[in-house]
Subunit: 350 residues, 2 copies
């Protein structure tokens, strides 16, 4: 029996994860769903956003699904104990180096985009963001006191051949099952790690994936092209920091931001970490109005990528589309449905 570990976390996390639980009961009754406290909630209860027990439970599961972490009440917690630190530690502990962030546009929502409809209708980009390296984790880092009221803040971006190769491999493999095109984004004209990135991707491509179409693109140009003509992209592979920014911009382009899931994958056979792209939305937390679709679609990705249930994933994706086509809309989509009613609409189409 497979185990899904739910980490509802903070803000709207518990509400949207509640709908995942309901969907799982109906769709995959044989799935063992466990739940642990995490993020700000765990900081309040245990003085740390990620306890060793929860980390071990995550490593022992088949997939982890996170709701959301963080909120203003933890803004003044010590930096290494903030909810965000718990998230970074969990990513690192699970070694989920490849962050799959789809930016696709639900046809029923194409008009919600700030872009003209024809530029986003049918949009379907898959970002593969490196998630456990780069400037997020590089040493040395810190703030040094230089005296005389002066300080110096330092971060280090490091990438090794092995780190670049494994995440690029994920991108090429994914591309083969999609449009067969990979764009690799870096600042090789300015950064040494970017130059190594470009070289490693070029060599891997020539050696193992010559059938996939590869384009190198500077990260600033990539940002421009995403705004100008996003449909030109299929798979985009990039580092942790550029991936953070570019995938967020692309997600917003779709008009479906509150609906987008993500998957973070490690080595084959290891549990993946799944999370909605949206945040903890403290302003609407506890009101039962959050859109649960990003969490439900994160579950869809977990079924597909970690739980070996592509059949159930297909059924769930179809049910979400049918619910949307049928007019189901939470407030963020201009409708009136509550969190639970959106869950009902998906269940009714399962």
């Amino acid at each position: 029996m497979s185990t899904l570990l739910l980490l509802p976390g903070d803000g709207i996390g518990p509400e949207v994860c509640g709908e995942v639980r309901r969907v799982a009961q109906v769709l995959t009754p044989d799935l063992n769903v466990e739940e642990r406290i995490y993020g700000g909630a765990s900081y309040d209860a245990h003085g740390t956003p990620l306890t060793d027990e929860v980390r071990d439970a995550a490593l022992a599961s088949d997939a982890v699904l996170m709701g959301a972490v963080g909120g203003p009440q933890w803004a003044n917690a010590p930096r290494h104990l903030r909810p965000e630190a718990g998230l970074l530690n969990l990513r690192k502990a699970m070694d989920v180096y490849a962050n799959l962030r789809p930016a696709y546009c639900f046809e029923a929502l194409a008009d919600a985009s700030s872009l003209k409809r024809e530029l986003v209708s049918g949009l379907d980009i898959m970002f593969v963001r490196e998630l456990t390296g780069g400037v997020y984790f590089g040493q040395p880092r810190g703030i040094e006191d230089l005296g005389g009221g002066q300080k110096r803040g330092v971060d280090t971006q490091i990438y090794t051949t092995a780190e670049i190769e494994r995440v690029a491999r994920v991108a090429f493999e994914l591309a083969r099952g999609r449009g067969n095109r990979v764009a690799s984004a870096e600042k090789s004209n300015v950064m040494e790690s970017g130059l190594l990135w470009k070289q490693v991707v070029t060599e891997l491509h020539a050696r193992d994936y010559p059938d996939v179409q590869l384009e190198h693109i500077l990260a600033d140009n990539c940002a421009m092209q995403l705004v100008r003509a996003p449909k030109q992209f299929d798979v985009i592979v990039t580092d942790n920091l550029f991936g953070d920014i570019l995938s967020d911009a692309a997600a917003m382009l779709t008009g479906s931001l509150g609906m987008l899931p993500s998957a973070a994958l490690g080595a084959a056979g290891k549990p993946g970490l799944y999370e909605p792209i949206h945040g903890s939305a403290p302003d609407i937390a506890g009101k039962g109005v959050a859109n649960p679709l990003a969490a439900i679609l994160s579950f869809e990705m977990a079924l597909r990528w970690s739980l070996n249930r592509a059949d159930a994933a297909d059924a769930l994706l179809a049910a979400v589309k049918a619910a949307l086509d049928g007019g189901a809309r939470t407030r963020d989509l201009g409708g009136e449905l509550s969190t639970a009613q959106m869950g009902d609409a998906v269940l009714a189409n399962l």
Copy 2:
């Protein structure tokens, strides 16, 4: 007599700078316009993209106006001798730490944006990008051979209190003459240099600019908000790397990309460095079809910020607007005018 040093550079650079020369002759006949070879052209002639003589001429001038640098023919030049390296060295030598990148939308071109008209009509953002620090220049940097086919690429992001303070000061001062709002973008939740950035901006604001409205925004959220509702921003101050990416995305949003200028400023009384945001566009170089307006508007910024000729700058800006309102369009804008004919259209309205 003030001196403007023209560095036409590569690709379409010489063509668009030619129109600046014509405009200057009419608008500011007393301005001493000099010209030097630079970029790839200088690499071909002298083996380096920036000779000491040109660097000294830049430092001795009142303003430097660059056309464009780079092109495919220099892709295999040694890294430290590429045209881009010349550009970074010139920025550093001139110590132009504050890069002003306006993202505004010409009313006559609002429909050219990929965003819906109502989201960009009237858009007017001023980016203040830190230009001489951060990961572009931090040491240590390099690619190290680890043996066994493995390498490690390293870059270092460093910011000191003084570096952050001087660029933030420029942003606050500018805001006072505009919408009085500054958004400071960083990743203080992940980067130590970002945390110092936020602290220094907060303190400077409290001490010297409490009348200006200040917002701290995470760089990934900033990218999203630029796509969702760009008109919410007035001045955005950010570091070298985030500024590179965010300002390019914002420029593309306006639909006026080929038209946008930039200014890089140092200490008061030192020459500024002005350049169009567009690249060298090798595909259309030498054909006389490039749009010269970004270069002409870079001259407009030079008149305003370095040459003490706000009167002439106002007249030039009005002439550009009048030319556009009158229907003047180069090919990139869907029209048929040549580079020189667009120059004529501006001159006719001066």
